[in-house]
Amino acid sequence: MTELYLLLIFMIIAAIIAIEIKDLLSSIIAVGAVGLGLSIVFLILKAPDVAITQLVVEILCLIILIRATLKKDLLFSTTGRWFLNTLIVAGFISIFLFVAGKALRELPEFGRPIMKVAATYLKEGLSKTGATNLVASVILDFRAYDTLGEATVLFTAVIGVLAVARRVGRKKQGSELEEED
């Protein structure tokens, strides 16, 4: 399990670099390091489906973020109550860590999941669905309503992107189209 600790520490260092560096493009590349490390962690934790999806989604996410920040000036304001704001945020995070550390004691120990629901899936998954990949049978047969909701959210997000990106006013669009010709 030492490789897991090493990868997690690498991810935390990359996240701190991503937060504190001044240049936005370098910051995005550091977030890419966090995501690719996360993909390797998923592979070590025996989740190959999630690892493949995380790898390809990370690449697409990086492309979208880089398109957004190319050729933009980088303004940073250093005014304001720096000391007080940092103190408040640090206090909030320490309270959060304290409460979460208390709550972690109620969780099952690492490496011994409870698996009350999953025991049924493991026992009857092959005979009930015929799919040998259990994750696919959980996604598309036992819990297909999850996938239906996911499809709805994805549809809504795509419609939102198209609506925000659309230029206001049809007349202006027509004139610009003529200019392009």
Binding site: T69, I93, L107, V138
Partner: protein, 112 residues
């Protein structure tokens, strides 16, 4: 137990970035980091010591599989995260087009 704490520290890095930074792109990066930490926590809970991936084999019967249910939940959450990130990015680009800056304090001042 230490590994859960490391995962929480990664979440807190994202939380600090969301609360403290003033650049909109930095805030989006903080949201992405916090989302990664949440996904990692689900997969950590599902892990079983010396377990195997939840895929049946034609030759042998495998008894020590890891929990497949959180994998299914995280698989949908990753794709939804990408779509919502794209929505945030395009709103940030619209804000830049209108106000000429990514700084949220300056946007507040411009509004009056």
């Amino acid at each position: 137990m230490t590994i859960y704490l490391l995962c929480l520290i990664l979440f807190c890095c994202g939380l600090y970035c969301i609360l403290r930074k003033r650049n909109i792109i930095k805030i989006i990066l903080g949201i992405i980091i916090a989302e990664y930490a949440a996904n990692l926590f689900f997969i950590l809970v599902a892990y079983r010591l010396n377990g195997r991936a939840p895929i049946f084999s034609p030759d042998t019967t495998i008894t020590n599989m890891v929990d497949p249910l959180p994998h299914a939940l995280v698989l949908t959450a990753i794709v939804i995260g990408l779509a919502t990130t794209a929505l945030l990015v395009i709103i940030a680009m619209r804000i830049y087009e209108k106000y000429g800056t990514f700084d949220i304090t300056k946007i507040k001042e411009l509004k009056g």
